[in-house]
Symmetry: C2
Subunit: 355 residues, 2 copies
Amino acid sequence: MINRKKTRQVNVGGVKIGGGADVTIQSMTKVETADVGRVVSQINALEKCGCDIVRVAVKNLMDAEAVRAIKKRINIPLICDIHFDYRLALKSIAGGADKIRLNPGNMRDSDEIAAVIKAAKKARIPVRIGVNSGSVIKVRGKGNSSVLVDAALGYIKLFEDFDFRDIIISLKASDVVSTVESYRRMAKLCDYPLHLGVTAAGSYDKGIVKSSIGIGALLLDGIGDTIRVSLTGDPVEEVIAGKRILSSLGLRNFGPDVISCPTCGRCQVNLAAIVNELERKLTAYSLPLTAKRPLTIAVMGCEVNGPGEAREADIGIAAGKKSGVLFKNGKIVKRVKESDFVKEILKFIKLKADS
Amino acid sequence: MINRKKTRQVNVGGVKIGGGADVTIQSMTKVETADVGRVVSQINALEKCGCDIVRVAVKNLMDAEAVRAIKKRINIPLICDIHFDYRLALKSIAGGADKIRLNPGNMRDSDEIAAVIKAAKKARIPVRIGVNSGSVIKVRGKGNSSVLVDAALGYIKLFEDFDFRDIIISLKASDVVSTVESYRRMAKLCDYPLHLGVTAAGSYDKGIVKSSIGIGALLLDGIGDTIRVSLTGDPVEEVIAGKRILSSLGLRNFGPDVISCPTCGRCQVNLAAIVNELERKLTAYSLPLTAKRPLTIAVMGCEVNGPGEAREADIGIAAGKKSGVLFKNGKIVKRVKESDFVKEILKFIKLKADS
């Protein structure tokens, strides 16, 4: 349903970004990169929950030297995040990095940048030009989108001078409005794939809201090829939030979508408990995720919107007093007791999972 | 920063919706409306956490008869949610309802609708024309925005025939893309204030994402005058989520905004623990919320984006190794130990709260 903007495609260690490829989910490790064992275990946990590409901070020579060892022990592409010192990029590329992220806010010497561009070109890996409000906005209150966009444009020029076009762009501000404005502006100015994110979005509950609005509004516009939700906390939560954003917009399928009403004074079953139990048990089933559209399950509390949503879903229940009407593929099947709601839905899902 | 679309203004029991008024937050009770004691205690809890307007389901005569008693014991405007039976609307209006919500999907008789319009006009209260995908989409798969918009337009005509224009419109679909599309379409067709929401968004973690994207993307466009986050769970969470959406976009001020980075391999303080402690303790301070812009606090993990975000904030810390540089109003003040981060920030906030 979303008409995605056509961008160039780049290849990050076998994972495609842009050019119509599925929107990928990224995250970043939060432990010392030189501590290979801990980094690898965090990366493997991220991969297990659905992270497509992972990034590590390379802040010194020890971190850069760890890249080779990390690469050997992980299965997803590795991005090295470089600031200030271009030599760390060169060392990371030599260690097998699948992509480099540079920050226009703290690497300005054109000879140094040229050295990185040449090394990336030789290694056939892409570079993300990653602009952040905290790095480029030097005058207080000048937090507007043109500062971010201009920083990126200046950098892009340097790369194009070397005929290097395996570029990904990000323009992250810590406020949602500037972030969205910056990406919308940039999407009109180039066809490089865009990496979306709101920077420094904060802790889980607030960060989810900021990231969902910023990333979601852009994806709705068809803008964005890869995303990273930034949360102060466990990076696994960033990946799960990313999956929720993409599935909410029908851009990826990560399993059944449960449509459930908020309930009101009409509801005569314990819907919140039923939905919680269902969500918990659903994780036990591995459904084929190749389909674009996820399976939909509607669990609705009354006769107002219940029959409509239940009929629209693959399987649905419109509850009445202590029982409900079960719909499968748009047709009424039978009446079921409240205590059997979850059982009936799981039976249907299991059938789909096994078929 | 958001340029809000100009809409007509309606008055809901003293609270203004539309015409440049602040975007208001609504929720709905989830207990039997006839059980006055429980409804009142839920409404008072909602008011305490920032709910501007509350809605109750009026499903039968007993519920309608409870309206008068509820009104006497609450301080925020009361909306009565009516489906199927127009007589429940008449009885609710007689009981002192501040606004009526009708559903075009289940009340079609023009004489009955006319009776409600006349009663609302006499009582000088507005009516929300509340369209939901589950109520109006009768053919499976026809879940597109034009069905929702057409249902609303047909109803609006009936109201305008009686020169009744105290109307609020909602067009809630259970999928985010259709919801956003419907509201964008409607915003071009009329200047009635719009009540935003994604219907049946599901349980907390998924529902927050769907609601933030749907409501947030529209607010970013300048569309929307009042919002309701629908979550299968405690309605207080709906209000808190609503506050987070509005403050993320700078549309309302509900207290300090904490900007904190996700941390990475560069971070050498326990930032997640610091931010958690800070967020918990911040709730203890009642800050004046009259300002449009909330106070901003940046708690950043390293020297990459740290100094920039800390300088932009009202108070900020850019951490280094076990300590950090403290910024106040854009200027470096001193270096502080990791263990003093929260204390230093709270001292500043307390000063602002007391001034």
